[in-house]
Amino acid sequence: MGAGHHHRIYLAGDTVVHRLPPQCKLVAVAAFALVVVATPRAWVGAFGLYALLLAVTARVARVPFAFVLRRMVIEIPFVVFAVALPFIGFGERVSFLGTALSVEGLWAAWNILAKASLGVIASVLLAATTEPRAMLLGAQRLRLPSLLVQIMMFMLRYMDVIVDEMRRMRVARESRGFVARDIRHVPVIARSAGALFIRSYERGERVHLAMLSRGYTGVMPVIGELTASFRQWLVAGMLPGAALLALLGTWGLTS
């Protein structure tokens, strides 16, 4: 059984951050991202403070630096785009190691890199301290439509089952001498994908029957309501709150 592939992003722990209700953390990360995005790119000091805030959060949550770094690979496409900007940008140019770089492009690249990295780090910290399931419950608590939450819950539950089914199909193909070597083998893979889709669809129907058999009426029963105290909201609010203070402080200094 391929148990728990998708839990590798979650780091089990029992810190203040882990214990916060998921809805508080979701709101905190979203608010933090808003503050970051709203910061003018030239206020380099403010970005430094944001990074410091995240470092403190990571320290409190006992999430190792290397773990965050590894999870940041998701950002690579943005990095590639950002690195290209100084070369393709217009306007005034500066010379660096014999290459003429666009000043405007450099600022644009910095803007993207700084904001994206801060957002990604905050999200990685959220994911590392919140179980996927809890995240969905938190989203539901924040009034995300129940149908969407249900769909994602099922995805979480059946991911391993489907991955396992996929693996069995691959073993069955390869046991009969199939090796995907070049483009001519695409149809075979495509047919397997189609078969997997149909199997999953049929499983969906059977699960629906099982749900009906236990009295499902279209609404998931609420089992164990998530509640957050005022104090917990306050603790979660510390990250975006401090970021906002940093933003306002930098504003005061520059104006």
Partner: protein
């Protein structure tokens, strides 16, 4: 005493015109454990789907502890009939065992401490209380099947309907499940190909073949009737003789 289940002259054709049931009659008394035997394609699954109103009869009636299966009684019918599906991955769809077992009773409007008590009690009865906070896909197949039984026990059903309960189980899990089923104080209808398992657990057996009940009697007698078994594509495993 009102029987747990009464099916009378039940006929059903699928929307594509395939007739699956041709007038099924059966009565199961309270507390009985009955095996429903039959070859593939005999209509066993179709019959089971009628018992809790997933399929609506083309003709005839199904009555569960005195209550006829009808559109307006579905909620109560589905509480009374606990269906355990063949593949526990179909049955266990919630992220943790606790939530899965709670799903049924919560749909009945039960909450709080009563819900917690029911969940624990159901898991206790199948010996699975220690996995209450685990995700179902981290359990072994045998454990998942036992949790699947708990999910319906939590609804305090009148009758437990099991579809191929012994399939894919190793001999030890198979025996453990048998012990659990024997310890439960509910009416059981067990759909199976596993004739020794039927013999072990059920005093009475029904043979469904060609969409009708072809035989109804003590399991031992049915399994000893070689001509009857052969006529309905049922076979005892090699070397097995009814004791």
């Amino acid at each position: 005493m009102t029987p747990s289940l009464e099916v009378s002259r039940l006929a059903y054709a699928y929307p594509d015109g395939t007739q699956a049931l041709f007038g099924v009659n059966l009565v199961i008394g309270r507390g009985e454990r009955v095996a429903l035997l039959g070859p593939n394609g005999a209509g066993k699954t179709t019959l089971v789907m009628h018992l809790n109103g997933i399929l609506t009869p083309g003709h005839g009636t199904v009555t569960v502890a005195g209550l006829p299966v009808a559109k307006d009684s579905l909620r109560e019918i589905r509480r009374r009939v606990g269906l355990v599906f063949q593949d526990p991955d179909d049955q266990l769809f919630m992220p943790t065992v606790r939530e899965d077992v709670a799903f049924g009773p919560a749909n009945l409007g039960i909450g709080g401490e009563e819900l917690e008590r029911r969940v624990k009690d159901a898991l206790e009865r199948v010996g699975m209380l220690e996995v209450i906070d685990r995700p179902p896909h981290h359990l072994s197949f045998g454990q998942r099947r036992r949790v699947a039984v708990a999910t319906v026990l939590a609804m305090s059903p009148e009758i437990l309907v099991l579809d191929e309960p012994s399939s894919n189980l190793d001999p030890a899990s198979r025996r453990e499940l048998a012990e659990i089923l024997r310890s439960l104080d509910v009416t059981v209808l067990m759909v199976t190909h596993d004739l020794p398992y039927a013999m072990e657990l059920c005093d009475r057996a029904l043979v469904l073949s060609g969409g009708v009940i072809a035989a109804d009697g003590p399991t031992r007698e049915i399994l000893s009737d070689a001509a009857l078994l052969a006529a309905h594509r049922l076979e005892l495993p090699y070397g097995f003789a009814p004791p």
